[in-house]
Symmetry: C3
Subunit: 354 residues, 3 copies
Amino acid sequence: MFPQNAWYVACTPDEIEGKPLGRTVCGQPIVFYRSADGRVAALEDFCPHRGAALSLGRVCQGKLVCGYHGLVMGCDGKTESMPGQRVGAFPAIRAYPVIERHGFVWVWPGEPARADAALLPALSWADNPQWAYGGGLYHVKCDYRLMIDNLMDLTHETYVHADSIGQKEIDEAPVSTRAVGEEVVTSRFMDGVMAPPFWQANLRAHGLPADQPVDRWQICRFSPPSHVMIEVGVALAGRGGHQAAPEHKVSSVVVDFITPETDTTMWYFWGMARSFRVGDAALTAQIREGQGRVFSQDTAVLEAQQRNLTLHRHRKLLKLNIDAGGVQARRIIDRLIAQEQQPQAQPQVQLQAA
Amino acid sequence: MFPQNAWYVACTPDEIEGKPLGRTVCGQPIVFYRSADGRVAALEDFCPHRGAALSLGRVCQGKLVCGYHGLVMGCDGKTESMPGQRVGAFPAIRAYPVIERHGFVWVWPGEPARADAALLPALSWADNPQWAYGGGLYHVKCDYRLMIDNLMDLTHETYVHADSIGQKEIDEAPVSTRAVGEEVVTSRFMDGVMAPPFWQANLRAHGLPADQPVDRWQICRFSPPSHVMIEVGVALAGRGGHQAAPEHKVSSVVVDFITPETDTTMWYFWGMARSFRVGDAALTAQIREGQGRVFSQDTAVLEAQQRNLTLHRHRKLLKLNIDAGGVQARRIIDRLIAQEQQPQAQPQVQLQAA
Amino acid sequence: MFPQNAWYVACTPDEIEGKPLGRTVCGQPIVFYRSADGRVAALEDFCPHRGAALSLGRVCQGKLVCGYHGLVMGCDGKTESMPGQRVGAFPAIRAYPVIERHGFVWVWPGEPARADAALLPALSWADNPQWAYGGGLYHVKCDYRLMIDNLMDLTHETYVHADSIGQKEIDEAPVSTRAVGEEVVTSRFMDGVMAPPFWQANLRAHGLPADQPVDRWQICRFSPPSHVMIEVGVALAGRGGHQAAPEHKVSSVVVDFITPETDTTMWYFWGMARSFRVGDAALTAQIREGQGRVFSQDTAVLEAQQRNLTLHRHRKLLKLNIDAGGVQARRIIDRLIAQEQQPQAQPQVQLQAA
């Protein structure tokens, strides 16, 4: 169960470099490619002729050509031509609203008439020379909501990531969760602690001492359908923590775009945006490698959790204070899904489309 | 869905060299082996004692011996002996009509009484010193009818096999399809074109120039249940094309025996028979290698198509002129299946069996 | 279908050395670990907080700590603590009766009140300096009862293990089966035969001639739920066979603990206990390697048999005299399962628990 009327990250531009990409989003197989005008197109991955996967075809002069019999498909899902055929009566396939922004390709799997670029998240760190970004993509065999739970409750870092970003003080610091409109924010502040290995390395990279107490913060922001941005960082103790001047802190944004593939599998676009040593490509690579290792630890935990939940389908789980972030995020998701299923939603669509 | 009362290629003789072979044909697990008199036997792959797979056993002096407890099975499905046991009351297992001919082992999965060797296809190139043959076997995860469609519409060569046998002119030449009795023939003639890489190599191998225009032909013949023989070749332009004298052309028969394994998987026995440089084993090997590469390209396309059709089970596909060969072949297959399911078919069987 | 009120081998101590082990027994995912007092604990592999697999966690000072959020679980299935949480109202998870004995960890997947250490099998060779033991573990994709059948009818050795322990005389020697209480014993004596390769090697290892006739015996003992101990050996012919003095024979016990995982998969703990050259670790390793090879031959046969039986679900199998051991063992198993399903079994439990 996932909201369909929402923007999801489908892929990164390098994945459609010179060739189409087939990817299932919210249960729908979609082909993504860059069309003649340089814009990304997203269509059902289904050739109207015989059902071949269009993603196995080629992009020729910006047009998607089916790899089976050469049908040329338009970006609107209407067949443009096919050798030796009149194609006017060919059934159209579905075209999906798609936008390239912030270094990602976003797709709207629901009703096209509701798709609105203004609903894309604003990402201050993206396309911004003051920031550097590095990230990756994992395929994870779990319900996408388990990943949201995971990211909205960072007490797991102490256990899952003990060797990198975990530390005992995370458990001990109180956590606060609040919903602000459609956003859920969970924050935790740990003052006067020693930095864990990951942050020690970043302090050193930033020219700051790594052996002195720091003030550490984690501010997790969920926004629908399934994005979680986490402000994280450490400042030398007593310099204002999260609000400290740039020369006294290292901070970054953990970026998590979570795209359901099926009910029990998902695509995980993870990364980190940072505002220090922005031009240091080696540091970017090093952070990405470390983050990749951290997130593969989560993957193992979540896939085992999914197997357990599949086996014990009707078992109730606990909802503790630390789970409040995930619980409130799911409440928003449930409300969006319910709205989509209400029949009265229809007229509004028609008005928009008119 | 497949006709059961038909001869299917089950295996090649080398596959039962000195040992039994287990293979599922039309949903039925069957064990094939060479019996004492040198003839091939085909039985249910199920030991009547405890259900072991007989194909894991041994052939001892032409008898199939179960590898679990030594039961000796007769070619008729009746247990011959078992150490320390009286076997007279053992239930028989099913024996399948089976014939070795044309370099293949053929099995009849349907009613034994209807099996008739006269129904085997006549293959002029087989067991014929004027011809050479080379081929292979692929397991493909698709409905066998998708492979028939593929082979009865060679416009796909331009797209799937652009690097070997495809060329733009295939698309552009008109195609003609006709049903002759139970056979469907689709033919295409391309005059005065340049030969694609595969045929250039064969022209050179035949001592003919590869840089001059040729007349090219493709004549696809479907015969039930699922055989497709394709006459292909090129002649130096203006020498009579398909009818040109042997010294002006290179031609061959693409051989395709398509055997359903389950509703969505199949065995693909592919090969090429040629009447030039018949004694050149290196050429045979080279053609087989090239053909193997070509058919593995089809395999990838067909398996993705199958996944799409499984997901969109009720979606209608187009039937264009280029699809006529597959459409007409399916019509014959559907008629054969319907005949097998009619109750009035039964008396006829009993008469035959009497 | 398996009896739940029984002791099954769950693992060997080395498998829980310093870390928890997740293993499914009789359909129930269980985590095993060594607790603070050195005893083994067995719990549902399901964290009551969010359903994480406890087996992915850690054992810290003898306590099982969930690897996700640090919940500390007690050996009784009650949560002991969790950072920042009051855990008194947390739902308990199931704790399984578990005992470490004879070099194995035994679990009771059924009603805890019925678990009784006195029901563990007595194994004279275990924890006994007069005996040496070596063994291994295989995961086999078949109903555990197919393995019992296999071990209670050693005529299969002639066919499945022709290269090691099989010999023609096994088939030819009469077999005798009797049920003694809840035990089923199948025995076979072959006098004056040549030893097969496996026993020739053991005769030589024991300093006895390998090229002279021997008396060979096989005494298979099934005891519920699914243990099969097989006394096997050879004595120089005419010295009393099974009863011969130790200097004239080599003998051992083939040890088979069969633990259902699901209805169609199982854990196979196999091994051999011997009372000769007990201190010879190289011999132990050599026997284990040979036995591992022998049992992998069975595995291939049983998995193919399972696939056949799954396909032909309603087909009746034969029950010959050689099958009597398996047939009688299944009768006992069926009776135990039926007893567990009778409602009148309940009061007795409550009395025991009171």
